[in-house]
């Protein structure tokens, strides 16, 4: 076993795990830049994972599965938008409601529909990027990957462009910073916030669908295992920038794959109980990173507050 191969494998797994994190995290960036915090990400991902799995299995088409994941995400986002953007309910509390709903419904649907038999989707084939895949170490781990990994690569600059270089992005930023000012200038605050929430929730649904279709090929209760909340944490770590959020997702994914890959060592030295410290490592790292970064973090000024005109 060569070092090169080990490093390459750790990288590859890290990138794979960070993909759903980054996609959901960037979605969260977009909705938070517009001032709406979506705490229901994990629930949306769960429902996206189930619906994506279901549709992909029934139609035999992976992409229809992803699309369905996006669709159900948008639907969940619509609930959040109606309750918190239009009816001005507390965003954090509404978001938690979405989480509970997604958590319960996804498994309930799954068991009702697939109660009898565990079913797998066929394994996906990684796509390899011509030339780049041949670079030693990073080639295979970064450029011989699943479709959604490439989607993530594209999403990072696209989200950056959307936020920083487009009219919609200007509106999104202004609505998150000072909705009153935006409103006074004729920007439709509720509409922009709704659009951002829907985009964010759609991405979360997609991230969930990738989890079941791309990674596990099977659905199981609570498939996300809290990844959605980590994604929200990454937004803070990433200071509301899609690029840094992506970096945070990589950090988490990599620290997890390092932790898993070093387990054998602790077993070998006769301290298997320490395995649980290793498993805690990614969470520790992300907490520490948050603490270090948060000193200068400053989110959209109106984040989490409903904008009420009168």
């Amino acid at each position: 076993m060569s070092l090169e191969r080990i490093v390459s494998s750790i990288l590859s797994l890290g990138v794979t795990l960070s993909t759903p994190l980054a996609i959901a995290g960037i979605g969260e960036v977009i909705s938070e830049r517009a001032g709406v915090i979506d705490l229901g990400i994990d629930g949306i991902m769960l429902l996206g994972a189930f619906i994506g799995f279901h549709v992909s299995l029934q139609t035999g088409n992976t992409y229809l599965g992803y699309l369905a994941g996006v669709g159900v995400g948008v639907l969940m986002g619509l609930i959040l938008a109606v309750l918190s953007v239009y009816l001005k309910l507390n965003q954090a509390i509404t978001g938690m409601g979405l989480y509970f709903l997604g958590f319960g419904l996804s498994d309930f649907f799954y068991r009702t529909i697939y109660g009898e038999k565990e079913v797998y989707l066929p394994p996906p084939t990684p796509l390899s990027v011509p030339v780049l895949a041949n670079i030693p170490v990073i080639g295979p781990s970064l450029f011989q990957q699943l479709d959604m990994v490439y989607f993530m690569y594209a999403l990072v600059p696209l989200a950056w462009l959307l936020i920083n270089r487009t009219k919609l992005g200007l509106w999104i930023r202004s609505v998150g910073e000072n909705p009153k000012a935006a409103d006074a200038m004729g920007v439709n605050v509720s509409m922009i916030q709704t659009v951002s929430v829907l985009v964010g929730a759609g991405l979360a649904g997609l991230a969930g669908a990738f989890l079941s279709i791309g990674i596990t090929q099977v659905f199981y209760e609570n498939l996300t295992y809290g990844i959605g909340f980590i994604a929200i944490g990454l937004v803070y770590f990433g200071k509301w920038s899609p690029v840094r959020t992506f970096a945070g997702a990589l950090l988490f994914g990599l620290s997890w794959s390092v932790a898993i890959s070093t387990q054998s060592y602790f077993n070998a030295i006769g301290r298997p109980d320490l395995v649980y410290f290793l498993l805690a490592l990614p969470y520790l790292i992300i907490t520490l990173a948050l603490v270090i970064v948060s000193r200068q973090a400053r989110g959209p000024k109106w984040l989490g507050r409903p904008y009420i005109r009168e």
Binding site: L161, R173, A181, A182, D183, A184, V187, K301
Partner: protein, 515 residues
Amino acid sequence: MRGIVKRFPGVVANDHVDLKICRGEVLAILGENGAGKTTLMNVLYGLYLPDEGEIHIKGRKVLHRSPRDAIENGVGMVHQHFTLVDDLTVAENIVLGAEKFKVFYDLEKLAKEIDEFMKTIGLYVDPLKKAYELSAGEKQKVEILKALYRRVEVLILDEPTSVLSPIEVRELFKTIRNLKSRGISVVFISHKLDEVMEIADRIVVMRAGKVVGELAGHEATKQLLATLMIGSRAVNIEEKFGKHVRPAGKLLEVVDLWVKGDRGEDSLKAVNLVVRKGEIVGVAGVAGSGQRELAEAIYGLRPAWRGRILLEGKDITRSPTAERIKMGVSLIPEDRLRYGVAAELPVYENIYLEKVHLEGRKSLLDRIGLRVLDKKGMVDYAKKVVEKFSVKTPSVFTNAGKLSGGNIQRLIVGRELERKPLLVIAGEPTAGLDIAATNFVRKMIVEMSEAGAGVLLISSDLQEVLELSDKVVILCNGEVMGVFRPGELSMEEVGLMMSCAKRMSKEEVERAWGT
């Protein structure tokens, strides 16, 4: 506008108001706090939907559901509180919400366009500066530019002068006249009689939601306008506040104070200051010269990274706010939207607020914060304050968020003055108050000082500072430019100091402090 009615829970803010705005005129709307001026304009601008009434523009009936509709129909508004997005550049702020620019944009190119646009208008602000870097005057220019960029024909200015220095006010008036000459109508809202009389072609006076008078600019006299505004109540608009005490020993001493602003810049540099017992020291300066930071530093809301603050000789530079409150420091905050009240809590708890620190701490429970509140005492005290400062509220159990801005201001002033402080830091204590309330607050401040308290009066109303203070300090850019007694310097010199163009020598300043 015809028969506009707008109700809020408990108030009729506009009660069948008719208003006409002619092309190319400056129309002033005058009225006490809560008269309904802002509400009426918000209705015109589409921020509020009227409960009744219609709006006609150029003979066509229109519906303004949002500012977007209003802008389309040529109505623009500059709000009492600036509505700029701090993190965006001037250029971005100007184009925000305008239909004209494309899906993708390039900041540089956009800036160039805006640059040209500003030159044609004759109002200039660096388009690549971010909004938070601007001075109050510049911000206002951007606000006006925003409206003009959308080719409005009616421009509403809601209390535009309250945050400007005298020089900036003069500039604003120049701009208004310029707009007028281009055929744009300007609606000018204010409490200040002088300003209204100077600029307006026509004056509409509102009281309690109704229009109570309308007259041409040249017909107006102060006395007439005041009577219309306030009604039958007798007022003396030029009340003088003679003082009969001599300042005694040093109460507050600020030595070489350096303080950082919100974005890490030095907003106070080597400031020295003395307030004696029984003395009112006025602080004047253009908005953003460090007044707010000075108040916050003395009150303990903002750390001093260099220098000392002494209260009655005791060093309080590092004392927490609670400690300072206990020692008798009180602050009327300038930013009453932010620091004003806890909206979901009842009036009586909002009035009690800092008095929590002033209760004795006898038992151990008291000391660990488990002291049981004396509700009856709190309510009685609140009733007293409400009455004395005429806070209009259904009861002291009403949530403070339900009060109007002016009444919240009264509540705050009452809360801060009624607890008999040694030192009052009064930040814009009369901003946004009407004449009667203004007079009352001024009287209270003078009375406090006569009773032996020291007052640090921070106000952008230069007239107010000169009239009330025993001594005046001029700040510019975080530095003390001069210290003098009212009347010692000409308005000319004061204006120069406020714009950093003139500075008194060290000796002169020291001499001024010495007396």
